[in-house]
Amino acid sequence: MREEFALIDTTKSEKKKERYFTNDRILRWTSYVLTLFMVLLFLFPWLWVFSLGFKTRTEILSPTIVWLWKPTLANFHEVLIVKGYWKLIINSLIIAVSAVSLCIIIGVPTAYAFSRFPIPGKESWFYMILTFRMAPAVVLALPLYIIFARLGLLGTFPAPIIAHITFTLPFVIWLMRSFFDDIPKEIDAAAMTDGYTRTGAFIHAILPLVKSGIVAVTLFSIIFSWNEFLYGLILTSDATRPVASQIPSLIRPHGTLWGEVAALATVASLPVAILIFALQRSLVRGLSFGAVKG
């Protein structure tokens, strides 16, 4: 086997010696360079906005764009510490972590049941779950507002947490099912012949196999919760508002402090940017609702 490979390799390298700049090679390298250029093009606007957070007001409003400057952390200090917006970050975390952990605990066994059991009307349920996930936020925001106002929950943490469950739970069930579907049913059967109950088989044989799937679904859900804007705006008070919902109110018709807005946006984006890299292998699947398993 190994010799065969070696053989192929030598023939290939001999070919390379013959003509280094083949059409295919030029085409391939052109595509690499263009890809790199494209990636930079998509990163540039984002990085430029970040750069504003590190500039002074005069540098931002300068009639010619300032490319080289001495970075300042004044905007970050002003918006996070002096204005106390670091609390918004904590609020975002409280909401995301509560909503997502509850949805994982409840949603993962449900997804397993959807994957394995003959639930009556399974596909209709699934279709309904997806519909609520895909509807605009305002569809549930309005009735939730009415109900929470009656219950006196407006402005408390449970309000945005419950609202975030409405889109997180469907996502967890939907995506986890696709991970469970990938695991052959024979593994459940084998575990059960080994003496495990259904629950035992689920916990000891199946869960370890979908560990990476659970991590991916968790991180995805945290990103979606962190990014959410509307529920966080209307169901909360100043004390419980998450960071994403606060940013638009900082943009005013006149006299917006752009440096501070950019600084807050930078802080709000960083966790997402980090989580994306942790998610690398499951990004495509998560974004396509499990349809594409690339």
Partner: protein, 293 residues
């Protein structure tokens, strides 16, 4: 009988939660859609008024405008993102095969907080210091601020939306390309097909399901888009960028007409469920074929 009970134990927590926090609010909205209920009008305190809210909706020209704006935004956005995404995928596939790290980098705009993406649009288009806005303004290409212009605001939103979502379409298609089987290509080579013929006859039909799923998700998203528009224009100037979701928000949480707002979200919900049914069927057909795995 026993096994049925067993299933119930597995799904009951989620079913109860679903019932309490999704179905109950939904039914609340349904009942409110037949009532007069407004925070700004003291005579509308929740009394039953039949289909009056729906009648009002049918005769509201702003409502039709919001659908028109949604389609005016959706169609160019999807055509553009589909075409550019396909081009980008063709370009990227080779590089991505070698460096998977390109996928998360490309998807940064897609997954970043939409509010921040909207802010990127606002800042870049700012006529005083925005990197694009300043150029457009100085060079005399435009006379007014982009986001303050009834003609340019919607194209600007489409551009920012494309900035966010073209990478998504491209990455889905790239993932599709990397998973394509080799045999059809070998057959095409044997048959003496050139590159263009191979692309049209082999690559495109195989990629088609990926493109359909990516674009269907975008179609449904068009009815969800809110954050970016709210940050960039709040539906303005006038109602020139007021999509369905923005219109619904304005009537509920700005005008506080909750009865009318409830009727409105019922109509939107029916519309979405039809679209989702199409998406769902496409996904199912595809999963049963197994070509997506």
């Amino acid at each position: 009988m026993k096994s049925r009970k067993y299933i119930w134990w597995w799904v009951s927590p989620a079913a109860i939660l679903f019932l309490l926090i999704i179905l109950v609010p939904f039914i609340t909205a349904l009942t409110y859609s037949f009532r007069a209920y407004s925070f700004t009008d003291s005579t509308a305190h929740g009394q039953f008024i039949g289909v009056e809210n729906y009648r009002k909706l049918v005769f509201d020209s702003d409502f039709y405008n919001s659908f028109k704006v949604t389609f005016l935004y959706m169609i160019p956005a999807i055509v553009f993102q589909g075409a550019l995404g396909l081009g980008m995928a063709l370009l990227m596939a080779g590089a991505v095969r070698r460096a998977r790290i390109l996928i998360p980098i490309m998807l940064l705009p897609t997954l970043l907080t939409p509010v921040v993406i909207g802010l990127v649009g606002v800042l870049i288009l700012n006529p005083d210091f925005g990197i694009v806005g300043q150029f457009l303004f100085r060079s005399g290409l435009i006379k007014e601020a982009v986001l303050g212009s009834t003609k340019l605001a919607l194209p600007a939103i489409i551009a920012v939306d494309s900035y966010q979502w073209t990478p998504f379409v491209a990455v889905i298609l790239t993932a599709g390309m990397l998973g394509l089987p080799k045999e059809p290509y070998e057959a095409a080579q044997v048959d003496g097909a050139n590159k263009w013929q191979t692309f049209i006859r082999v690559t495109m039909p195989l990629l088609w399901p990926y493109l359909v799923v990516a674009l269907l998700i975008r179609v449904i998203d068009a009815f969800r888009i809110f954050d970016i528009i709210w940050v960039m224009t709040r539906g303005g100037p006038g109602i020139s960028t007021e999509t369905v979701a923005v219109y619904a928000y304005r009537h509920t949480f700005r005008f506080w007409d909750l009865g009318y707002g409830s009727a409105l979200i019922m109509v939107i919900f029916v519309f979405i469920s039809i679209l989702v049914e199409y998406l769902y069927k496409a996904l199912q057909r595809w999963q049963s074929n197994g070509s997506a795995a």
